[in-house]
Amino acid sequence: MAKPSTVRQERRPALQAIAEVAPAKFDRLIHERLRLGIVSALAANESLTFNELKKLLKTTDGNLSVHARKLEEAHYITCTKSFEGRLPKTEYRLTAGGRRALERYLDHMEALIQAMRER
C-alpha cells in the first residue's frame, strides 16, 4: 500500500473532475475527513472541548491537534485555552468564515450530485 504522500499526484484527476462539475472553488482544507468532522461537529454546537471532539471523532490527540491547528490557521475555527481548576481546557468554536466554508462545501457536494443526475 502506497503512502498518501507518494500518491498525491494521482489525486489530481479526481480533484479536477470535481472542479469541472461544481461551480464554486473547491476547498481542499475542509475536504479532509477529520477536518470536515471537526467543522461539522462545531457547526452543531456553540463550542466543544478538545476531549469532546476527540471522543466524538474517535481520533488521537496528535491527529486532532494537527488538523485543528490547520483549521485555526485558516481562521475557520478559534481556540481558547483556559483552566478548569488545575486541568487545562481547550475549547474550539466555529468562526463565521468556517461556517461559510462548510456551507460552500455543502453547496459544492449538492451541485456535484445534481450535475451527475442530469447527465
Binding site: Q9, E10, A43, A44
Partner: protein, 220 residues
C-alpha cells in the same frame, strides 16, 4: 513521483473523496464521484447529529417553559370554573410549544437547517405523537366531564413523549421523562384538588430543575 507508486495501472486511481485507493475504470468515474459526494454529505450529517447529542435539547427552553407553567398554575388556581382552569392550561400548552420550538431552533441553528435533519427533528418526531394523543384525550375527557384524570393523562403522555424522544439524547432527558410518568401515575389516582398541583410540580418544577441541569451541563 508517480514512478514510485507500486500499483498505478490505467485502471487504478487514487480516490480523493474516500481517501483510499480503489480500482475502477475511468469511464465509471462520474458514478463514483456522485456516490462519494453523497457519502460526504452523509458523513457531515451524522457527525452533526452525534455532536448534537452533546447538547440536543434546549435547557434554557425547559427553564422558560417551567416558569411559564408556574405562572399558569397560579392563574389557573384563581379561576372559579373548571372550564377556566382548563382553558388556562391549554393556553399554557400552546405557549410552551412556542417556547420549545423557538429555543430548539436557536440551539440547533447550524448549517442548512440542522433542526429539520438532525437531533431536533428526532426529538420533535418522538414528542409530537403523544402530544397529539393528549390533545385528543383532553377533548374526550372534557366532554365526559372527567376533569380529575386530565392532569394525570397530560403528565403521563408528556413523560412518555420525552422518554421516547430523549432516547436519542443525553441520559438526563429520559430521566426527566420517567419523573413525569411517575408523577402522572400518582396524579391519576388523586382527586382534582390535588392533581391540579401535580401539574405545577411537573410542568413547572420538573422543567425548571431539569432545564437548569441541561443548561449547566450541556450548554444553553
Amino acid at each position: 513521483m508517480p514512478h514510485k507508486v507500486p500499483c498505478t495501472g490505467p485502471h487504478m486511481e487514487y480516490n480523493v473523496l474516500m481517501g483510499s485507493i480503489l480500482a475502477r475504470a475511468k469511464s465509471r468515474e462520474p458514478v463514483g464521484l456522485h456516490a462519494h459526494a453523497m457519502d460526504n454529505l452523509r458523513f457531515i450529517r451524522e457527525t452533526m447529529e452525534r455532536a448534537g447529542s452533546f447538547t440536543g435539547v434546549p435547557g434554557m427552553g425547559g427553564m422558560l417553559m417551567g416558569l411559564s407553567a408556574l405562572g399558569a398554575a397560579y392563574l389557573a388556581a384563581r379561576q372559579s370554573s373548571l372550564d377556566g382552569w382548563l382553558a388556562v392550561w391549554v393556553g399554557e400548552a400552546l405557549v410552551a410549544v412556542l417556547i420549545g420550538a423557538v429555543t430548539a431552533a436557536r440551539k440547533g441553528r447550524a448549517v442548512k437547517a440542522s433542526l429539520l435533519s438532525g437531533p431536533g427533528r428526532k426529538f420533535a418526531l418522538g414528542l409530537v405523537p403523544s402530544i397529539l394523543v393528549a390533545a385528543l384525550l383532553t377533548f374526550v375527557l372534557y366532554r365526559s366531564g372527567l376533569y380529575a384524570i386530565i392532569p394525570g393523562i397530560w403528565l403521563l403522555l408528556y413523560g412518555t413523549g420525552i422518554l421516547s424522544a430523549g432516547a436519542f439524547s443525553v441520559p438526563v432527558v429520559p430521566v426527566m421523562g420517567i419523573c413525569f410518568v411517575a408523577l402522572g401515575a400518582v396524579a391519576l389516582f388523586c382527586p382534582l384538588e390535588w392533581s391540579r398541583w401535580f401539574l405545577a410540580a411537573g410542568f413547572g418544577g420538573l422543567h425548571v430543575v431539569f432545564g437548569a441541569l441541561i443548561a449547566a451541563r450541556y450548554g444553553g
